[in-house]
Amino acid sequence: MTPEMLKGHLDGLVLAILEPEPQHGFGVIEQLKDNSGGTLDLPTGTIYPALHRLERTGLVTATWTVHNGHRRRVYALTTLGRAKLATYRAQWRGFADTIERIVQAPA
């Protein structure tokens, strides 16, 4: 997989990771890695600008907690974020089906 293939999908992927439960930045990147079987192994630092962008646009909320004496920022989906994720899923399925029909090897 190339970085270009991930362009435009990071926000949707992060929203999907946050759907089951709130996560902090490092948790999101580790979850991405685990859920993709290690295929999506992004540099950890790249997730923070994405999370801040999602927070600014109202798709996630952030709250500070304290973990082992350190401040930790935990992100959770908002109602708007859940709606956006549902839209992203529908668009992705349509897109993936279309591409699959075109690029699949002839039987």
């Binding site: 192994d41 630092g45 790249t46 801040h52 600014r56 930790r72 920022r73």
Partner: protein, 232 residues
């Protein structure tokens, strides 16, 4: 899948900077944060929040991947600090621009309410309108003042609303309009002070003190908002 092909967007790991040598985990984290911090805009709370969040992530990164020297492990696993700093700075600037536009809006609303209160309690005498050449200047300044106040409010609202839109050119223009309208407002107030009927000049000067107390900070914050949007 091989290690090389399985990694997406992984940064090339630069060699440790010459002369620095291997560093302990906390030292490497603080050095990394210092490089990120150089890219971040002012605003102590925004900076502290961003760096605290990264410190937590960097600490966990070292705990999970600290098999190499700390500096190398951080750069390999977390990414290039300058690139991350630039990306976070862009986000921080958008937040600051929105915050400053909200402050401008609140100052304008406070000014508007204060003016309404002044009009209802003290009132504006007809004799404030001067005669002769000053009359047209005074009346034009009153018109300009009202128009600029309205334009500045619209600009500030639009800045807040459009700062999250893709491209952000609308927010940048809205912030510029706010700044220009506020400068026009200040100029109109000054013109009114100069042209008001001499008998009311002292009253006008006294009224202009709280007006300036609201207008000058509003201009300052509108300038900051414009600057953050331009530099994002």
């Amino acid at each position: 899948m091989s290690e090389g092909s399985s990694r997406v967007n992984r940064q090339a790991c630069p060699a440790e900077r010459s002369g620095e040598g291997p560093s302990s985990g906390p030292d490497a984290i603080e050095r990394y944060l210092e490089q990120v911090g150089r890219q971040l805009p002012g605003g102590p709370r925004v900076r502290r929040d961003i760096l605290d969040e990264l410190r937590d992530g960097l600490t966990q990164t070292l705990e999970h991947h600290g098999d190499d020297t700390a500096e190398t492990a951080l750069r390999r696993e977390f990414g290039d600090p300058q690139q991350i700093g630039v990306a976070l700075a862009g986000e921080a600037r958008l937040r600051l621009a929105r915050r400053h536009a909200v402050i401008v809006l609140l100052l304008l609303l406070a000014g508007g309410l204060g003016w309404q209160a002044y009009q209802s309690v003290v009132g504006i005498a007809d004799s404030t309108v001067p005669t002769g050449w000053a009359r047209s200047v005074f009346l034009a300044a009153v018109e300009a003042l009202q128009a600029c106040a309205m334009l500045a409010q619209i600009g500030a609202v639009l800045t807040v609303l459009t700062v999250s839109l893709p491209g952000r050119w609308a927010a940048e223009w809205a912030a510029r309009i706010t700044l220009v309208a506020l400068a026009g407002f200040a100029l109109a107030v000054a013109s009114m002070l100069v042209s008001i009927a001499p008998a009311h000049r002292l009253d006008a000067v006294l009224v202009s003190i709280p007006v300036a107390g609201l207008t000058l900070p509003a201009i300052r914050y509108a300038y900051f908002a414009t600057r953050h949007l331009r530099l994002r």
